[in-house]
């Protein structure tokens, strides 16, 4: 029961991070939000393994942690190729 309550907390955090990812305003806010969302998925997968009674599936959670890091490094590096206005102009939404 405690674990389910914790999962609801994690899900709420996911929603909050999603809202930040949608609002922006700069690209860095979005990267940060997605990065945080990724950490929350790691926790989510770990927890759901315990809730469903098969905690052996933690390998997946471990892998998510890795993917998350690679992804963040990739955006950091590749968003720099462009002129900076590409980063700033993230601000307007149609």
């Amino acid at each position: 029961m405690l674990l389910v309550a914790a999962m609801i907390g994690i899900l709420t955090t996911m929603v909050l991070a999603l809202v930040r990812a949608l609002l922006g305003p700069t690209l860095y806010d979005r990267i940060l939000a997605v990065n945080m969302f990724g950490t929350k998925t790691v926790i989510f997968v770990a927890l759901i393994g315990f809730v469903m009674g098969r905690p052996q599936f933690l390998d997946i959670a471990l892998f998510y942690a890795l993917v998350n890091f690679v992804g963040t490094v990739a955006v950091l590096k590749l968003s720099h190729y462009r002129e900076l206005d590409a980063v700033r102009s993230e601000e307007d939404v149609r």
Binding site: L22, L27, R30, V51
Partner: protein
């Protein structure tokens, strides 16, 4: 307990729909790609909830990992903003999707109830064969692995050939000699300047490759296997290329090695099939590999075939990333 799971999956679905709407509305393409990565993470969570752990593994590797990185490299080569979509496009698109969706929902009434035990999928005799008899015939606890590599090994061979072909096509499309671009060096940000990032990545590499080996060879007992391990290997090289630059990564994994890897994995897979034919069985019939002890033959066959899958997938993914990241800005 099931009602809680249902609630959780509802929340995940809501997040997915909102993310999809966000993707259409964002004109900054970096933001859209970030949202696509987030979408893929949530999809992977849903796969775990729906008991498809191997799929969740692959989706995270592919969708949130490699696919995002490739989209970002393409963005770095082209313009990062989208033009305003003209209104005349929106209405037909909206009406078309709503109509198609309505038809699909109408058609979905004939589907069996979600999670029903007596649906045709679950009642089919193959279910029994895959879940129970496979334990005696093949002796691999992860039935996804035994179906993938043994029962439907021929199918997987075809999929691997598709990956091989797609990888070759990408290499053909993009391996012209890059034009000299004087701005390239200036635009290039060496992440190696970030000292903490560099040190931490260096610590991580052995763990990443160890983990990939673990996933490769533990696929019989838990979620994992050749596809996933291949992508993990590739993401290790991708991280190396990102942090230390493509030229250095090319030194670690040169072009000729990648070409050898890409083809040798597929050859290994096909070779196992041919060997089993030469030993008197049919194509990819692993029982023939060890006639006195068929289960042993199955184990060896699955191990080799998964290794072939892992090698080709790792080679293709790494090669694709290198060839994308090696582009100079084209303008």
């Amino acid at each position: 307990m099931t009602s809680e799971i249902e609630l959780i999956s509802l929340v995940l679905f809501a997040i997915l729909v909102v993310t999809a709407i966000g993707i259409t509305r964002l004109r900054g393409l970096y933001g859209a790609v970030m949202l696509a990565a987030l979408f893929s993470l949530v999809i992977a969570c849903l796969f775990v909830v729906l008991d498809a752990v191997d799929v969740a593994f692959t989706e995270a590797a592919v969708g949130a990992g490699i696919s995002t990185v490739l989209m970002l490299t393409v963005l770095a080569l082209t313009r990062a903003r989208e033009a305003v979509t003209p209104r005349r496009r929106l209405w037909p698109a909206g009406i078309g999707s709503v109509l198609t969706g309505g038809l699909l929902i109408y058609g979905s009434q004939d589907l069996p109830a979600f999670g029903a035990r007596d649906s045709p999928v679950q009642r089919h005799p193959i279910t029994e064969a895959y879940l129970l008899e496979s334990q005696n015939d093949i002796g691999v606890p992860n039935t996804v692995t035994s179906v993938l590599a043994s029962y439907r090994g021929y199918d997987t061979f075809g999929e691997l050939a598709v990956i091989f072909t797609a990888g070759t096509a990408v290499l053909l499309l993009l391996s012209y000699v890059p034009r000299h671009d004087p701005d390239f060096e200036r635009r290039k940000l060496l992440l190696a300047d970030y000292r903490i990032l560099r040190v931490v990545s260096k610590i991580l590499f052995p763990f990443i490759f160890l983990f990939a080996l673990y996933v490769q060879f533990h696929g019989d007992y838990g979620p994992g296997g050749g596809f996933q391990a291949g992508v993990i290997f590739a993401s290790g090289f991708v991280l190396y290329g990102l942090v230390f630059g493509i030229d250095n990564a090319r030194r670690v994994v040169p072009r000729w090695l990648l070409r050898v890897l890409i083809s040798s994995g597929l050859l290994l897979y096909g070779g196992v099939g041919l060997t089993s034919m030469l030993l008197g069985g049919t194509f990819l019939d692993y029982d023939a590999l060890s006639p006195s002890h068929p289960v042993m033959g199955q184990h060896v066959g699955i191990l080799l075939v998964e290794l072939g899958v892992g090698i080709t997938v790792a080679g293709v993914m790494t090669a694709i990333f290198f060839v994308f990241a090696d582009r100079r800005v084209l303008q």
